[in-house]
Symmetry: C2
Subunit: 577 residues, 2 copies
């Protein structure tokens, strides 16, 4: 029975922390819940705007998903909900299938959330979390930079109060923006600029001021994080007082339907699934990567671990929850999670509290948001997202490992020019292609003995001793189909350059496996060497490789007296000491 | 001047062997030229039939291409011309764009030869020959098996004298064949069966008989290889004597236009290029792989080497030549090359002699081929191609290295079911995917000292000595984005399982490079370990990896006293002796 509950609580973590809830954790959880709510109300509406969706869909996506994540999530403190990059993917991606501001567009977003949820749950059940390992850091970083730039560009038009023609190409977008600057709405522009200034002041100066006046960190945090809330209140009041929407043409949020969303299943016809599948796949992976990266960084602060596949399933449940309550795809973003964590969240109860507070807001408070200017929401997005622009990364990537810089730039540029799906695909292909290129051109070293030791190193880098009749070569790569030709070419040339040798010793410390193509190349090579009266030997073959060579009959073919445990043993046997 | 001619002769090898031609080589070259001609006349017509093209196109593809390869080819003895697998690709591939037996279909084949030639020359100039390294042996073998099975199935209908509906799917093809067996033309069937029997007798029994009667090998070879010629003569005589085409409905070759082909440029509009590009790419690569594999096996018998990029360009010239003289894509096949070589070809003069003899044939002798039954040609193809069916390979692949067997089967099945292009693409993706999967799950070994030596090996495989306060782990893989997570998980678990350790030593003999993602994972790991009071060390870092770590500031970060030349040095410094 205990055994069974332990197992169940692995899949439903609330059974674990809920049943052992400590009263001491309550204050932290409630405080964090309140602070995250004050951040989430404006953010969820802003991100919905970014996704070309009405503001209430952002709020809807902030109730049931948080509740479900609170139940199924294994990471303590992760704050799920609408997220910037995911909103961009929804907003840009769905334009292929429906016109913006239509019911069809909104319905597709709801269907998309369902599909993302299902994909994530399936991947979690099949334990496919490892797939994200193939999204390298440079590809992810290139994508995030491109997404951030695209998001900023898409929001700047709200700051200037202008309309732009739709464009998938970032550079054409910039051109369009410059073209349209003549139509700037001055009042909107001033409102936007003031909002950005105030947000930056909250972030950068306020903490310093409060610190100098010796406020405690637990007071400073909620105040400095109240920037968005302050903007919402100030912006709404200004627009309401001066009736800016009618007098100056400032765009405001307008009517938000009051009351909780109705439950309902979205349309998931075969045709819609086929249309939305690529988008859903990208959203599931990107959402999962964000979530797992955030969860890991939170967990490591507590010295805990994260179960990747459980996180996938919890995120999937959250997306299903979003879909059945009229929301759109959600993820677990870093910035809100850090706030949650710093504000004292100890368990996922803080998520559940946030959900309840958002529900109360949508039942009672939405009329108050009528006059909230869109420029204020845009300002929040721009300030939040501009931290993701880290183009200078490319310099350090280039310096340490050039293929990383190439993958980064390829992803960045293709996402900016040809869109998200193509960009990520190209980025993954470039990073894998460069890896294959690297492993297809192995590094070889002719080695010799260092001093009197049993250690052998590259003759070009170290002071070593060698013998004329033995050529000891270390190959620094596993042998597989893509580098068999390079191996063959190198060894044949090395033998041709050293006509006096009688023994060729291949040191296998860098060989982690040998595939069938490489094995038959080795056999051909050995026959070729024998015909030139050169004997072939192996040393330092690792256990798993040796198992394979024995199974494949290679050791028998070569002769077991030709395989040495260490280079030292081999050299002694070949009378090279 | 001498310098310049040397350089030029690298690109036009005839300048080298032609100017230094030895009279002693002449007999061998002439004999080989004649024998290959007798083989090539029926083969070229048979392969043209396989490509759904009229027989004269096979002959046209056997004149200028051979002449041009004789001039530009670096391999001595390679016999280019129509080849079985390439003909299949042409025949099946072009059905997507044109109806068989139409002028449009034939013109596309001619355009395709031009495109293949251009691609091969471009790849040769850009030195892209290395691309074929990524076509692994199992993928190639799976493809060849599938192609051979498809070819045999496509020819069996000529043996039975039945018509089949077109199908890309091998298994549906078999079903169709069985359905249509009721319509078998008995005379055609007997003719086909007799041809197959005679060909097998020539191949398998005749050589033994002649050997027992003490004929010399130089006499046995031309006689045993005369099987196809014998079939052509006997089949044509039989059909002519009994007027089998009119009396029994036996399909014969019919009229072949007499005279040399007219020179002309094919249509290469943008639209045609776009249509034919995938097919042309596959043909250039497959043709190149066949050619280079054959050339290498011939060269190794003479202890010579082959210049892959020069071969690409020579093959490209041959294809251009085929295109401008109304032929279709050519390649350098193994079987005819082996005959050429065994018959005594010493230089590419034998190719040029064959070209002249084929030209004479097409000017004077084509009327004699009117009554040649198609069943005889089909019999030749079936007997020649059945040697390529080596399905039993999968057993040894599976035994030695399972991913090889999986790549083989995936390619085989997808080519049979979904066609050549899809099949090769899937095969390449599967083989690369399995390689990535393998490298994303590295092998780790905790090691200890073997006896009193300086050699350290896996504690689970060898008798070794260890110390409780030092954990020495060897990771058997280069560290890159796909396996950083596996590294992290393993090391954290290893540390948790050994709470008494103070020092963690990572032995890098199996690490051939470390990318940026892995480097930042290492940094995080080190910080994590430090917080648990465990010190981290590296040993046996290879030169190129060390260069990178120094450039990236990692050695400085870790402390240069934490990096040891050898495991032995590290263990001594950590007082574990």
């Amino acid at each position: 029975m205990v055994q069974k509950r332990l197992k169940l609580s692995r899949y439903i973590p609330i059974l674990q922390w809920g049943l052992h809830y400590q009263a001491a954790d309550l204050v932290g959880d409630i405080t964090a819940g309140i602070i995250v709510t004050s951040l989430l109300i404006p953010q969820s509406m802003a991100y919905a705007m970014l996704a070309n969706l009405p503001p209430q869909m952002g709020l809807y996506a902030s109730i049931l998903p948080l509740l479900l994540y609170g139940i199924f999530g294994s990471s303590k403190g992760l704050a799920v909900g609408p997220a910037a990059v995911d909103s961009l993917i929804v907003g840009v991606g769905l334009l292929q299938f429906a016109t913006r501001d239509t019911l069809e567009f909104f319905m597709l977003a709801i269907s998309l959330a369902m599909l993302v949820g299902l994909l994530q749950i399936i991947m979690g059940v099949l334990r496919l979390g490892f797939i994200v390992n193939f999204l390298s850091y440079p590809v992810l970083s290139g994508f995030l930079n491109a997404a951030a730039l695209t998001i900023i560009l898409s929001q700047i038009k709200h700051i200037f109060g202008v309309q732009l023609p739709r464009s998938d190409n970032f550079f054409i977008g910039i051109y369009n923006l410059i073209q349209s600057l003549g139509q700037t709405n001055l009042v909107t522009f001033l409102l936007g600029l003031a909002s950005i200034g105030l947000l930056l002041w909250f972030q950068q100066n306020l903490a310093n001021i409060l610190q100098r006046r010796n406020f405690s960190p637990s007071v400073i945090l909620p105040i400095t994080k109240a920037g968005p809330l302050a903007i919402v209140i100030l912006g709404t009041l200004t627009a309401w007082l001066f009736k800016l929407d009618q007098v100056a043409g400032v765009k405001v949020v307008g009517d938000i339907p009051q009351g909780l969303p109705a439950l309902g299943l979205p349309n998931l016809s075969v045709e819609i699934i086929r249309e939305l599948f690529p988008l859903a796949l990208i959203l599931s992976l990107v959402g999962f990567v964000e979530c797992i990266a955030t969860a890991k960084s939170l967990a490591s602060k507590r010295g805990q671990d994260v179960d990747a596949n459980q996180e996938l399933m919890a995120l999937g449940m959250a997306n299903l929850g979003s879909s059945v309550t009229g929301g759109y795809p959600v993820a677990g973003g870093l910035s809100r999670s850090v706030v949650n964590f710093s504000a004292g969240a100890k368990t996922n109860l803080s998520s559940i509290i946030t959900a309840v507070l958002i529900a109360i807001t949508i039942i009672f408070l939405t009329p108050l948001l009528y006059y909230l200017p869109q420029a204020c929401l845009a300002a929040m997005i721009i300030v939040a997202i501009s931290k993701l622009v880290t183009l200078e990364t490319v310099k350090s990537l280039w310096q340490y490992y050039k293929p990383d810089a190439i993958s980064f730039l390829a992803t960045l540029i293709v996402v900016l020019v040809a869109g998200i799906e193509t960009g990520i695909l190209v980025g993954v292909m470039v990073s894998i292609g460069l890896y294959l290129l690297q492993t297809s051109q192995p590094h070889f070293a002719v080695v010799g003995r260092i001093g009197e030791s049993e250690h052998f190193r590259n003759i070009n880098r170290h002071e070593v001793q060698t013998c004329p009749h033995v050529l000891a070569i270390r190959v620094d790569e596993s042998l597989y189909f893509a580098n068999t030709k390079a191996l063959e070419t190198y060894l044949i040339q090395a033998v041709a350059k050293n006509p006096e040798i009688e023994h060729l010793l291949l040191i296998c410390s860098g060989i982690n496996f040998i595939d069938g193509s490489a094995l038959s190349t080795l056999k051909k090579l050995i026959a070729d060497l024998e015909s030139r009266n050169i004997k072939f030997y192996l040393a330092e073959v690792k256990g798993p490789v040796m198992d394979g060579l024995q199974r494949g009959g290679f050791v028998e073919y070569l002769g077991s007296d030709r395989v040495f445990l260490s280079t030292d043993c081999a050299m002694k046997a070949l009378e090279c000491v």
